[in-house]
Amino acid sequence: MTIYLDHAATAPINDAAIDALNTQMRKVGNASSVHNPGRAVRKDVEDARHKLSELVGANPSEIIFTGSGTEANNLAIKGFFWQAPKRNLIVTSAFEHHAILDPVQWLVEHEGAEQILIPITKAGVIDLDFLGNIVATRGSDIAVISVMHSNNELGSIQPIAEVVRIAGDIPVHTDAVQSFGKVEFDFAALGVTAATISAHKVGGPLGIAALILQRGLDLTPILHGGGQEREIRSGTLNAPSIVAFAAAAEYAITNMKVNFAKIRELRDYFIAGLKSAVSDVSINSVLDPALPGIVNATFPGTESDALLLLLDTEGISASAGSACSAGVPRPSHVLVALGLSESDADASLRISIGTTNTKAEIDQVLAVMPSVVERARNAFVVSGLD
């Protein structure tokens, strides 16, 4: 039996999305074709776009579908950078996802970009004073400011409206992949220039996401081809996934308030239980304003990969931060940005609770935690060979 506590990595697909996928996959037609079947599929795609735009507080034409959140982030960072040849500075928070930090790093290494990271305060939010100073002194150099809407490891919601106010005319992008469908997120109300959302974090399928981009703006594309999506993102429209994305998002947002309360209650129950199960645990994640289900905790004297292995053998799925494809565990840059030492960052776990979890599951996790932590401590190998 598996107790799945890694919803921030990916959430279980919901029935609404599966039904939508199944139905749409049986339809033939390229949404860009002029014939009847093509037009029919185009209508389904545009209905989905319309629905999604209402759910996210945008105009339908502001939604540009992409193949992943990573692609949308790359499109925003590189697109804004290439649109402003006279501005080579990119400002992001220090604890962005790698899908933001790495494209910026690539532009630094290959395209002469300069990067400035906004530090993180002890409260788990960006330092607005720092941003204010950068904008005041270097504003005319900044091509784009990108700050995530909520942090995927700490759960903390970022003051994006403040960022927009400070930025003035500078484009602001926000990676809202973790927020959308879980907490209030309204594109137009926030006033950002662009935002990233992704289906699989809200119960939709993998491989479909969107960049929301204000109308009338152009971005330098990464993919060239058929000119779909305002000629910003070419590629045959993935109609089944788009339709399922909208269905999943509708389901998530319709139930958002109920789920928020339920998940938050489980989170608080878990944190209270964890503190009594493991006396020296420290909680890094932010309680409010925050995503409801993120718990990030440090277990001193352990290594996260040992904790994950032991939890896995108990049937419990957790994470040590972002899933890392290289597989070599590294101390989380998010926790280091928050001010943790590398060894404390390396001794930390992220547990992300979702709609499918129950109190009974949390009780089972709490029951095994003391022994898991004890074994991980036994295994802690202090480097220092003779």
Binding site: L309, A326, A376
Partner: protein
């Protein structure tokens, strides 16, 4: 038993893990990341440290149906193996990093971690046989003489060997490949690794020069007469004949060999083949793989000084801190730092590090 299978991404460790599962053990696959920057130790299909190798290991674990994790042992490997390799060469000795890795990483850091996590031991794809005998649990050579790896495992003490499992020791390599294919492990045809994994180019001398410098020194004969120059004494090995670049011929025209490396003066001493002859070897840091031989009395056995060297009949004495070996026939060319392994027939008695020779 609950066992950790160390999976390199090669065919041997994959089959070893599969056999352990079949034998009814609860097995978890672990790939050791030995470099914090895998590009650094990149070695195509030959090594065991690339991203591709970790993917191969993961895929094998998936096919076998066991959980799989990557353990970051880069720091331990660098401090315990790579640094030691460099410092040994800088001291004019010839280390064997595979011995060192088995002693300090696979059956120390990994085994200790496995035990801490509640596992009973470590499985590897090494070719050697553990046998329960009247002497206790002892290690024997593998049945495949071409693949036998008991030499590089002879640095393990009885406690380490108690937690070590080598499921392939009873099988010849060809049959392991056939078995891998039958089990659907696509690494079945992956080439064997040969080189030192952290020297992917195979250019040991160049790798050492890059790190220890290439200061010019003298090549001299046994009387101290200068015959030529070299670029770093540590890039030579005792017994080396080729690549000396000496233009002054020997008096009798016979070939010359490296006899000695003197790191302090950066001097390489060369001489005749006869001068390489060694009959007495003293090894320090003795490690016993089974019952410890009685102190200070002569025992008969075989000495082996290279991974694929021949066993040499000998008489040996152990003094508690050293093993003194008297070979029946001389061997030609032996460097301090090499592993000295003592066998009793096919049974591994123990090992020491060559300290000096006569």
């Amino acid at each position: 038993m609950k066992l950790i299978a160390a999976m390199s991404g090669g065919v041997d460790s994959a089959v070893a893990a599969a056999r352990a599962v079949e034998a009814g053990h609860e097995v978890i696959g672990v790939h050791l990341a030995l470099s914090s920057n895998p590009q650094k130790y990149r070695s195509g299909a030959r090594g065991c440290c690339t991203i591709e190798d970790s993917h191969d290991a993961r895929r094998a674990a998936d096919v076998i149906g066991i959980p799989f994790y990557i353990w970051d042992m880069a720091e331990e490997f660098h401090d315990g193996v790579v640094e030691n390799f460099l410092s040994e060469y800088a001291d004019g000795r010839t280390p064997n990093p595979c011995l060192r890795c088995n002693e300090k990483i696979k059956f120390a850091a990994v085994l200790d971690r496995a035990k801490g996590l509640g596992f009973d031991g470590v499985i590897t794809g090494h070719y050697a046989q553990m046998q329960e005998t009247s002497l206790g649990r002892v290690m024997h050579r593998a049945v495949d003489p071409g693949k036998d790896q008991s030499y590089v495992l002879a640095v393990l003490n009885t406690e380490q060997l108690a937690g070590a499992h080598f499921p392939l020791g009873d099988t010849v390599k060809d049959n392991v490949r056939i078995e891998a294919k039958r089990r659907g492990l696509y690494v079945a045809n992956k080439p064997d690794s040969h080189d030192i994994c952290f020297v992917p180019s195979g250019d040991n001398a160049g790798w050492l020069r890059d790190r220890l410098g290439s200061e010019v020194g003298s090549i001299v004969d046994e009387d101290g007469k200068k015959l030529g120059e070299h670029k770093g004494a540590y890039t030579y090995t005792i017994g080396q004949r080729r690549g000396l670049g000496i233009t002054v011929p020997a008096a009798g025209g016979e070939p010359r060999y490296v006899l000695k490396i003197e790191p302090k003066t950066n001097t390489v001493v060369v001489g005749s083949h006869e001068a390489l002859a060694v009959t007495k070897i003293v090894g320090d840091r003795p490690i016993w793989c089974g019952p410890e031989p009685t102190l200070n009395i002569e025992h008969r056995g075989f000495a082996q000084v290279r991974a694929h060297g021949s066993p040499l009949a000998c008489t040996y004495v152990q003094t508690g801190t050293e093993i003194k070996v008297d070979l029946d026939e001389p061997l030609f060319g032996l460097a301090a730092g090499q592993g000295l392994v003592i066998y009793d027939g096919d049974r591994v008695v123990g090992s020491a590090t060559v300290a000096r020779t006569e």
